[in-house]
């Protein structure tokens, strides 16, 4: 898989001049293949064995450090693989001001990594200067859409590229909600002209926790803006499900992934494992399962890829 180049600053104004015909820039979804989350447990094995992974995704914050092993292995692995950057602290929906120091560190890391793309979550993560280090749901309101859209545009201006926003799993909903989550997601990404990192596990988890049909979600998202897919596992607590990322990808998530690829066509896909991390070989097997399912989905798709 060759390297993909990031476009220039892609706000609407620029894209009018940059895109050759009058097509929507979002139509140019690149396909990077099948990737894995890069975790310190696997640094050595990756450098020593150069496994058959098309790309890796890093947690950006884990590499916002001065030196030592994290940056050493990041540079070594970057020499061999494309890398996508995935952040957890942007707090794009937060009511605190955007953190200029954080954005500067993100930009500096992007300059070092030259990533496939940069993503974070459609959520908020802190309040009053405190970081809570969790991904909290936003209310699905016009006020929140306007708030997030304005901030996404400023972040994209700072980074000089469009960002991907990931749907989070959630365990509660708000009385002020005026629309379903997928309508909120669609409104944000279309108005801000950003992209989507679709987490299949999070759709599954939230569908159970809130009682919606995953198919409605898939029907409601803007297909061409989905540039990346996350697959992960979760833990079932009986009357609710928590997005723990400590288990293999389970059957219902594979099924949902298959129908996602049938609808969207090829999308860069990766497996996200954050806890109870197994040897790399077992993640490589899971990644082969993703390849097999994606290939099957494309064969059975309606030829609209």
């Amino acid at each position: 898989m060759g390297r993909l180049t990031n476009g220039p600053a892609m706000n609407r104004q620029v894209s009018v001049h940059m895109a050759p015909p009058a097509t929507n820039r979002a139509a140019e979804r690149p396909f990077a293949g099948f990737g894995l989350g890069l975790r310190p447990d696997h640094f050595r094995t990756i450098v020593d064995t150069r496994p058959a992974v098309d790309w890796f995704e890093i947690i950006s914050e884990n590499f916002m450090v001065a030196g030592g092993k994290p940056l050493y292995y990041l540079d070594r692995i970057r020499e061999e693989y494309p890398i996508a950057m995935h952040g957890v602290s942007l707090s794009i929906g937060g009511s605190d001001p955007l953190d200029a120091g954080y954005l500067g560190a993100l930009k500096a890391l992007a300059d070092r990594v030259e990533p496939l793309w940069i993503s974070d979550h459609l959520c908020w993560t802190g309040h009053g200067g405190q970081h809570l280090h969790d991904l909290y749901p936003l209310p699905y309101t016009e006020e929140a859409i306007a708030h997030v859209v304005e901030r996404v545009q400023r972040v994209q201006d700072t980074l000089g590229q469009r960002i991907l926003l990931e749907n989070v799993s959630s365990y509660l909903s708000y009385r002020v909600d005026a629309m379903p989550e997928w309508e909120f997601l669609r409104a944000v990404v279309e108005r801000a002209d950003c992209l989507v990192l679709l987490d299949i596990n999070n759709i599954h988890v939230s569908a159970i926790n809130h009682g919606f049909a995953p198919g409605d979600y898939l029907d409601g998202i803007p297909p061409k803006r989905v540039w990346q897919i996350h697959l992960a596992g979760h833990t079932d607590y009986g009357d609710y499900v928590i997005d723990t990322h400590d288990q293999p990808v389970p059957a219902p998530v594979w099924d949902l992934y298959e129908s996602t690829i049938q609808r969207l066509g090829p999308v860069s896909t990766m497996i996200e494992r954050d806890d109870n991390i197994p040897p790399l070989d077992s993640l490589l097997e899971e990644l082969d399962t993703a390849r097999t399912i994606a290939a099957r989905a494309l064969e059975t798709a309606n030829g609209d890829t």
Binding site: E61, N62, M64, V65, A66, G67, G68, K69, P70, L71, Y72, S89, G93, G94, S95, D99, Y102, A105, W124, G126, H127, G128, G129, Q130, H131, L132, H133, D134, Y136, L138, P139, T141, E143, A144, H147, Y171, L172, S173, Y174, R175, V176, D177, N209, H210, G211, D239, Y240, I242
Partner: protein
């Protein structure tokens, strides 16, 4: 109607303080009650920050046991909530918190072990720098030696201890439970640094600790020799040469200079 800012403030208060105002914002739907749904987030907050401390202070957690360490973690996160985008920095104030706050301050071993473990965390990802080799010293003319100054590796830290913290740390690495140790006969200093990608540490002899402290403050080599006469008399210069060779071998020195410290 609740504004975004109000809703987030109430959510924050629910997660960090168990405040109940968020309840009025949350929909009642089939499945768990709103209270239980909020509790998922509140429990996750405490668990996640406790886990971050357990990772950075693994031996302290082992020494205290899960229950007492969890109590400490809750008290700490209430007093020192995370203010950095990365959890990597959340635990930075724990040694000071243990020193200042009872009941933990009554057991100085806890703060000392914590300070040592945090030095290891800092050494892990502090800036890189290339150490000098012994060959670099061969170029120094004999007349320049008295005025020689040193620059040390940016990962280097010196941790003052009154308990056998390094021995305790090693014991906790090998055994599930360890007796709390008696104080040392004399205070000591532990050197922590990163050599290449490997974090290293050792307890220094008193003469080395005094000499190293002087050199980190920019003292020239002649002053190192002078300081060492207290322990070594006429052999002080020989001991200074041995220490310098040790520091170079350990990858602790990144530059040598003249009267003014190298920069």
């Amino acid at each position: 109607m609740a504004t975004l800012e109000q809703l987030q403030r109430d959510f924050w208060a629910a997660v960090t303080q168990g405040d109940s105002a968020l309840r009025d914002h949350v929909t009642t739907t089939p499945g768990p009650d709103p209270e239980d749904r909020i509790a998922i987030y509140a429990n996750a907050y405490t668990a996640r920050l406790t886990q971050a401390l357990t990772t950075d202070y693994k031996r302290l957690a082992a020494l205290m046991g899960d229950h007492l360490f969890a109590d400490l973690a809750r008290a700490y996160m209430a007093r020192h909530p995370s203010t950095h985008p990365s959890l990597r920095y959340f635990g930075r104030s724990l040694p000071g918190f243990l020193e200042r706050t009872r009941p933990w301050a009554d057991e100085p071993t806890l703060a000392e072990l914590a300070r040592f473990e945090w030095a290891l965390v800092e050494a892990f990802d502090a800036p890189d720098a290339d150490p000098v080799t012994v060959d670099a010293m061969a170029d120094v003319p004999a007349s320049d030696w008295p005025g020689l100054t040193l620059r040390f590796h940016p990962t280097m830290q010196i941790v003052a201890v009154t308990y056998p913290v390094v021995a305790l740390w090693r014991a906790l690495d090998e055994h599930d439970t360890v007796e709390k140790p008696d104080p040392l006969d004399h205070p000591a200093r532990v050197l922590v640094w990163r050599h290449g990608l490997t974090t290293r540490f050792r307890t220094m002899d008193t003469d080395e600790a005094v000499g190293l402290s002087a050199m980190t403050e920019g003292a020239p080599f002649a002053e190192l020799c002078e300081a060492l006469t207290e322990w070594h008399g006429p052999q002080a210069a020989a001991r200074a040469a041995i220490l310098l060779k040790t520091w170079i071998g350990d990858g602790l020195i990144t530059a040598v200079g003249g009267r003014e410290p190298p920069c």
